[in-house]
Assembly symmetry: C3
Homo-oligomer: 269 residues x 3
């Protein structure tokens, strides 16, 4: 019983996500469907990429992840499917799978790269019979995901490619004076600011009781375990659930308090 997750910017009002589910269940009646998000900001490919990145490790390895944030629909951007040991990914070739593709790219790890296959979806017999120019989620990506769920091999769905779009994933930068410039990767619904400092990465040593963080003109001293370590209304730095350094406000909203957005900088000492 294959699992198919859905990540889109379709919202919950118009029925677009439900339509994709109708298409999937028409082809693969047994598929288990799990919504990751239909509330991605319209056309915010980076937000969708981050949400997928944090969710994928918690699904069984054979899961099919269908992601449709697709500002280039109808243009020459390619529809693709990507098979990795972490799961199978179906969507537009616009960077939405950047975190996954970077993980398995030969640049990072040659052995891992050999476990990844990417195809451009060209075999129209696996699409809906008539395809629109504006809703490939329904006409191409949903039927392809359903056929994968029924066991059609990736290689049958199109031509192999090796140059998928990967957008640069923000990385902390070291300054001449030794200070570190980090970036806000993502803001969640609680207003917590997820930075690009990873607890398992090369900057892990920055995370400690003596870290000093400058953010929007304010200073935070030390990284704590959790919100409950500071008073209500106070800024707190902690390691978030996805393994990134985060900044929050206990029982509050850090993004609104500090008026910050993804891409904004913070400084660590």
């Amino acid at each position: 019983m294959a699992i198919i997750t859905l990540t889109t910017d379709f919202g919950n009002a118009d029925g677009y996500a439900g339509i994709m589910k109708g298409v999937i269940l028409s082809i693969c009646p047994d598929a288990r469907l799990v919504d990751l998000s239909h509330a991605i900001e319209p056309q915010n490919v980076r937000q969708a990429a981050f949400v997928l990145h944090t969710a994928v490790p918690y699904f069984p390895a054979g899961t099919i992840h269908l992601a449709v944030v697709d500002p280039g629909v109808g243009s020459r951007r390619r529809p693709i499917a990507v098979q990795t040991p972490s799961g199978i990914f179906v969507g537009p070739d616009n960077g939405i799978f950047s975190f996954i593709l970077a993980e398995f790219s030969s640049h990072h790890n040659l052995t891992a790269a050999r476990t990844m296959s990417i195809v451009e979806l060209t075999r129209m017999e696996y699409w809906l019979p008539s395809s629109s120019h504006t809703f490939h989620g329904r006409d191409i990506f949903a039927p392809v995901a359903a056929h994968l769920a029924r066991g059609v091999p990736l290689a049958n769905l199109g031509e192999p490619i090796d140059d998928p779009v990967i957008f640069p994933i923000p990385q902390p930068e070291i300054q001449p004076d030794g200070r570190i410039i980090a970036h806000i990767l993502h803001i969640d619904r609680f207003g917590n600011l997820v930075t690009d400092i990873q607890v398992t990465g090369p900057w892990a040593s920055l995370i400690g009781a003596r870290t000093i963080i400058e953010i929007a003109g304010k200073r935070i001293l030390g990284v704590h375990q959790t919100f409950a370590d500071v008073a209500v209304g106070e800024l707190v730095a902690y390691v978030g659930s996805s393994g990134y350094l985060e900044i929050g406000v206990r029982h509050g909203n850090a993004a609104m308090t500090l008026n910050l957005r993804p891409g904004d900088k913070i400084i660590l000492e």
Copy 2:
């Protein structure tokens, strides 16, 4: 394994849609449940009717579509179920099934009409034991949908009727000077304006490279294939994924840019 879709204005906060699912699964534990929308504007029956209309063709023919946007709950409006070759529909008799009923009404097509059955839901043994005056979605419609999913025939659920409420579906009008007045049928979450000009209908010849569209004091020249055919921020006319002429703004929101609402007019030459 029957599929039941749900379309309501219940929102996602109060648990009302989840309660309907609890009722359904208590009666028919195997039902496949698919949310079409719970974010219909409160009491906007026309919006729900349009969402159903665009979604139904993408579900298997035996699917049961449960729709509860029900401003008249507790009044004398009838609860109904409708069986057609496209699916089975359960909800209030307030026009929410207008597009489907029009398709199969004898006015349009006598042969198609013979394939449709409509009953007023009167057999209380298929409802929850005690029925409220304010939540027929839970007390009448969800249990009826679940019994249909278990195979109870439509005819067992109530008395046949042949006068369901159908609201007039907007149609383009031709002016003495030959220009066409069309209407905005629906606005989706991206702010795209869906008009009542259908690509398969009598007005299809209006859709072409030489069409001139006047909308909110602006002029659009030609109908394109997709957003990517115009510059970012520009208005574009295109055939939308449901087969209607639509107006959008590339990477923008046409409804907000033009300050328009459903029912507003556009002119085609």
Copy 3:
């Protein structure tokens, strides 16, 4: 095929609810997952408690209800699971199960109390291998719910406790002059005001055609069956679908019209 419901304040954008589902399906692939709400106001434990309270009676008795509104995550608040004849509950010990716990507490009903078991979740072998300090929904509650769905007995999951957190559930108060002060328990998405007067409780005699309700400086005469009993735009008192006296505006929003919030008072004569 066990049913697991989910009630959180995670919103629908970040994928947090989907991640919990990935964890559950990795452990118990057959679980039926039903969203009650992911739009609980951030950290509003009382709202979540009320939503659970109204939904639980409509699910089969063996249903597992997973509820994660958890402002104290990472602090010393206990993770718990509660077994009752109405269902099994998994979440933080912060009052989120107050209505259910009150129903089965010995204070109310000694026989019922004997049917309830509560454990503090301490057996880490039923959690994810590494647990964060900020997302116990993913790391503790989802895997525990999934193990319960697979048939692991409650007693295996931790140590019995008998002092769960129960917040005081608002009750109407009688005044020296005989008038009754009631409270707004909950406001739903339509702006309807749910009061703490229950149709099956000791105050039921207050509900009738001659009841006079004072609310926000306005007077309502009589309790009606439904909205349709008053004119559009008028205030109406009626017995809501969960058995509480409610105040609404026909085709309108009472909470916005009257500018009221949960906890605010109304007076009955």
